[in-house]
Symmetry: C2
Subunit: 201 residues, 2 copies
């Protein structure tokens, strides 16, 4: 039995370009006959390690303004809703913990898309536990309070920490990042190349 090649999709819920990638990655992967490994992680600790106090998008007002204009146009092109969230970047810690739990329990992709859609499509505050719990209800029949507590357990908190350290050890410095074995592709604009690139032999 032949095994499909797979692509690791590293994403962060506060990243607007991760939203664009999350909403189209399964369709693109299907066309290219790839499996996707969903890898939620946190960029904050990585940015801080590099000496950034804030998202690099916020470093210049004109760059920040351009980015939102670009995201709006990209959403229009992809047929996605867009509502600029404020504050930006949000605290995505609990969303990332839950998404990582969803990897274990099988509902990560649906949960991820719903969180991104709530945040960048509707401008909702995804640090609000009620919003996250309501999304959980829509993607699983499991007891939502039990899942929440599981996501807040010391063991699971440690899983997310390890995941972020793994991202860091791979040299990941932004999101989304696609890893095809050792080959890194950064940014929503590189998804097609990540799926089709043929290394020189």
């Amino acid at each position: 039995m032949s095994q499909k090649p797979s692509l690791d999709f590293w994403y962060e819920f506060a990243s607007p370009y991760s939203y664009l990638a999350a909403m189209r990655i399964e369709a693109e992967a299907q066309k290219a006959n790839f499996d996707i490994n969903w890898k939620p992680f946190l960029l904050g600790p990585i940015f801080r390690q590099h000496g950034y106090q804030d998202s690099p998008f916020n470093e210049l007002p004109m760059k920040r303004n351009y980015m939102w204009r670009d995201i709006k146009r990209c959403c229009q092109t992809q047929g996605l809703a867009f509502h600029q969230p404020d504050p930006f970047p949000c605290n995505a810690l609990n969303a990332a913990r839950l998404a990582l739990l969803g990897v274990k329990l099988g509902w990560c992709p649906q949960f991820t898309r719903s969180v991104f859609e709530a945040h960048f499509g509707q401008g909702k505050d995804i640090s609000d536990p009620n919003i996250l719990k309501s999304i959980l209800t829509s993607v699983t029949r499991d007891d939502v309070e039990r899942l929440w507590d599981q996501a807040q357990s010391p063991d699971h908190k440690n899983c997310l920490r390890t995941q972020t350290e793994h991202a860091q050890s791979l040299g990941i410095f932004g999101a989304p990042t696609f890893m095809r074995e050792q080959e890194m592709f950064w940014g929503n604009d590189r998804l097609e190349m990540a799926l089709t690139f043929q290394p020189e032999t």
Copy 2:
């Protein structure tokens, strides 16, 4: 007589993504039935105004390494030669002055492509006047020493200064940047969108 729409192509010779854009923009513009206005400028004064001491690509070693890997892959995809120049970024002042002279005299696109190809395709030092003069010889029959002197005249130096100030006044913070009337598109990856985007009405 119907007039073609036009796209302003703002580029800097030290910018590797400007190389990628310069080598394909005429083919893309022809497909989309656009005219291209070639706009050489300098990013250095803009970066310094924003408090950068160096190219933003150099700020993190892992980001810089990634960028060169990405450029190499993109060159491979576009069928372009690639040789990583050292030092990076180069001093592109004289190349930009000459390219701007070429806008007036009609050989800017050929000159621009040849300079980019020498720098990023062959790794040549384009701050070397001999290399620039040899490229001039290949794109015009005019007297090369006379052109060189013209590019170094106070009036022409001032033209490039004004051009860079114009870029700054448009909010340009990187290269390549495409301007379609007031609409800004940053990066080689946005060329297609710049040529095809339909604003919401």
